[in-house]
Amino acid sequence: MTPLFCDILTIDSVAPLRALDKLSKKGIGVYKVQKMGPTRLKLRVKSKETEKIFAIFSGSCYTVTKIRSAGLKRLAEFFLRRMGIAVGVLLLLLLSFVSNFFVLKIEVIGSGARYREEAEEVLAKSGIDLFCVFRADGAETARGELLSLPGVVFASVVKRGCVVTVTLEESEETQVPQRKTQLLAPCDGVLEELTVFRGTALAKEGDRVSAGQALVGGYFETENGETFQTFAVARCSVLQSYSGKYFSKELSERAESQAIAAVHLAAGGELLEAQVKAKAADGGFIYTVTLKVRIVSAVNL
């Protein structure tokens, strides 16, 4: 309602209200009229009509005084008196607007964030780089290339302000564990038992085998001599002789039991036989334990 650019005036007179009527007849509107006393009114008028008002009342019994500007005019006068502030504000707005076109930071987020270096290379090839103007077509090209990264199922290149955010998401599917295809001997020893459900036996019971030796191969042969790859399903048991030494300060059955237990712990498997020899040395006794253990191993069972 009140004009944006206006001036605050006071009118002093014996009958100040008549001044309002005079202005109204001249087509000049007044706003926010307040009675400051029996002979004074305070009011606002449009700034462009102020001079006209002074002209109307010059030489009359009405004393018109301009107090100050109001509204946006006051703000404009403030900035005109302080041009530096106005120029600074304008420069700031201009810089903010212009800098919005440039890329000042690149972020790579998502489960595929480990591809940060690759993503930056792809962006640079598409013309999106730090301190360069952002191009929307380059972003689309980069997005297509990012999707070709291994395991990446989603890619997006979005600019907000002066930050380019690359989102890469990898497939959430769990990797299928690699199935063992053959049965290997768990240790050196004699193959006691070999049970083959699938695959081809490469050793027979009673054979002396070495640790890691293939006992069952992941293939089978047809009657025609064709070989088909598969995975072995088999179980074996190997008899192993294992020796170890144990030191004890005493020579007793208890010490002997402890020596067997300690060496068995190291050997593993099922204990079948144990031989112990004790020899005095260094203030105690060294027990030499020789065990026969059964080691069982299986594949895909």
Binding site: M1, L17, R18, L20, D21, L23, S24, G27, I28, G29, V30, Y31, K32, V33, Q34, K35, L43
Partner: protein, 91 residues
């Protein structure tokens, strides 16, 4: 104000009343708007007298201030409690 023209058209009032009589709208507790104002005879925060082109209006209330006055229109801000037209009275 188009509202007044529409009301007049509805009731078919004569020309004199239509252009020179008292025309006003009161918003209770807020303001009052007057047309055909020729001059403001007196003004205070509790009482305002206005002369119309035909007749006069006396307004009583609280916290009066002239929000706008010009070209025959007067917007009086404040709490209007009583409006008297001419020699009669209307509340």
């Amino acid at each position: 104000m188009r509202l007044f023209e529409e009301i007049l058209a509805q009731f078919g009032f004569g020309g004199d009343v239509a252009f020179f009589g008292a025309k006003f709208v009161v918003y209770e507790g807020k303001c009052a708007y007057f047309e055909n104002v020729k001059s403001i005879a007196s003004f205070s925060s509790e009482r305002v007298e206005i002369l119309l082109k035909k007749g006069q209006v006396r307004i009583e209330g609280e916290n009066f201030s002239i929000a706008r006055y010009g070209e025959g229109d007067l917007l009086l801000a404040g709490k209007v409690q009583k409006v008297e037209i001419g020699q009669g009275g209307m509340q």
